[in-house]
Amino acid sequence: MARDSEATLDAMDRTLAGVKPVSARRQLVNLGDRVFYIIAKSLALLVIVLALLLVADLFRGASEAIRQFGLKFLVGTTWDPVTRQFSTLPTVIGTLVKGFIALLLAVPVSIGSAIFITFYTPRWLRPVISYPIELLAGIPSIIFGMWGLFAMVPVVRVIQIWLKAHFGWFFLFDGPAVYGVGVLSGSIILFIMITPIITAISKEILLTVPREQIEGMLALGSTKWEAIWKVALPYARIGLFGAVALGLGRAIGETMAVTMVGGNSFDLIHSLFDPVHSMASQIASEFSEATYSLYVSSLIYVGLVLFGITILISLLAQFLIWKTSKGKLALLD
């Protein structure tokens, strides 16, 4: 790898040298440039290499389970350490459903509060409102988990029982409402956890929208709402997508808090009230007591699948950004 960058550098130098003779002074400048270039490039490469090593190691660790179960691991519904049968569909679904419900709740709230802080709050008041939000983003997840288990779940239970009593005919509410722990509790705790992050990033992004554009829009006679909806949000959309994707990433990978309120069952969910495991919490919960190698390997396989899902989501976000940007460009043409 090092040799690789050297080679590229040499090639670059040769090209440069070919263009014009280099003075002594210029060479000195080039030395600094070269050092900086090498450092920056190695750091960038280091990140890529680390990611590749991680994937390679996940594959290595999961190889026994991959040989044993293949792709059936993804569609099977049994997780049984006694009979040594492992598959992960219920937890994948549980993870995704909880993540997306959390996102559904978090996006309007976060972007709404980011808009409020950016466009409706006087400058001196901004830190007063945004500081607590950023503080929330820094709270360790075990704290959310404890709070969720002791304070939130009892309330959710009451709501679930009410929902089941009145809307039990609807499949989403036709589940074991009395448990309290389950998909709904897991989603709500994730919603609370990702909202501060999405809000904090969205706020920073909305602050980068040029004031002139909004003022121009206002000068043209638009309302403030129109200026925000038609200028600020489209301008900031890529960043906002990024903020949302980050939030979803955290929701999918969140471990401790969901473990405490998710109910952690390995069965397929049929309603919002069913208890279900998340992939990350499953790995964390079982790893320390996984007593034989196929068991450990299957947990690592779950990790690999989780990694794959994270990448897929990030690609999807990229695709959406690309698609919306393209749409806008077409419109301008």
């Binding site: 350490p81 309290g180 069952s265 320390s288 007591e289």
Partner: protein, 353 residues
Amino acid sequence: MKLKNMKAAVLLTALSAASGQALAGCPTKGVKELTGTGATFPYPLYSKMFSEYDKTCGVKVNYQSIGSGGGIRQLQEQTVDFGASDGVMDEKQKAQAKGGAVLHIPTVAGAEAIVFNVAGIKRGQLKLTPEVLAEIYLKKISNWNDPKIKALNPGVKFPDLTIAVVHRSDGSGTTFIFTNYLSKVSSEWKDKVGFATSVNWPGDVGGKGNEGVANSVKQIPGAIGYVELAYAQQNKMDWAQLQNKAKKFLDPTLEGASAAADIANLPDDMEIVITDSSNPAAYPISGFTWLLIYENETDPAKADAVAQLASWMITDGQKFAAPLDYAPLKGVAQKKAMALVKKIKANGALVMK
């Protein structure tokens, strides 16, 4: 006065250490540090024991409670001086141990309480037989007013309430002991579910750790679950009396757990899960926790230190067990544990006389 005594004791310890005179149960070959990893269940006790051991012998024991599975793996790889586990290593795991034969030395026993949440029924007022408990966990008995439960508890009024079955969602020795017990008392459980640190539960809710199970049971009306005795006691939870092998209904107690371990036909290797014990005074959901030590060590000094530590833990160290809600070893169990410690060798030569 008290302070003076303590100072004198410290001085005495220092003196005897300085003069090279070994205290009973202390390493004799200059080892000052030992490392171990494994089970979380005995961690509160071990950290107390090891801090006391440091005071008496000046030997620091670093213990990381990463779980029994992790303890076994690290022992296999010989990265620690001893492992600790709530379960017995199986043949495959033993085969992968790089240092040869592994001794299972029990240190204490523990009991698990069946806790429940039914309005109007208090601690000890509910009686359960192994059969009924198994059927509840198999989801075959699903309501508290089931005739089978009523028949066991004449005079107790049961509401029409669905039973919510709560179990541990994290892999744990607690689950191992509980499912091992159910497998012994119910052939259907054995066939359908089996026993391990984590199993494919027929239902319903999984809670993380003792606190997760305890809290779900406390919150969900109609819930039933299993937690370590200490946890049930400290949280003043309502528990059931469970029928043991001698057909006696017993509250979970330390005495019941000690009794479960005190049976004449204990195997010499002590690799036995003492659930459903035949002792008439035994509480049936009890289990050992073990130290895992290689029978033949390569470093004589380390071998001596590990053996001394183990022997101290099963003799002098036992007095710290009961205050922390662990059941101390008694009678035959303690004798057989000591006999195992004496089997520790360094390059083939016994280290303890």
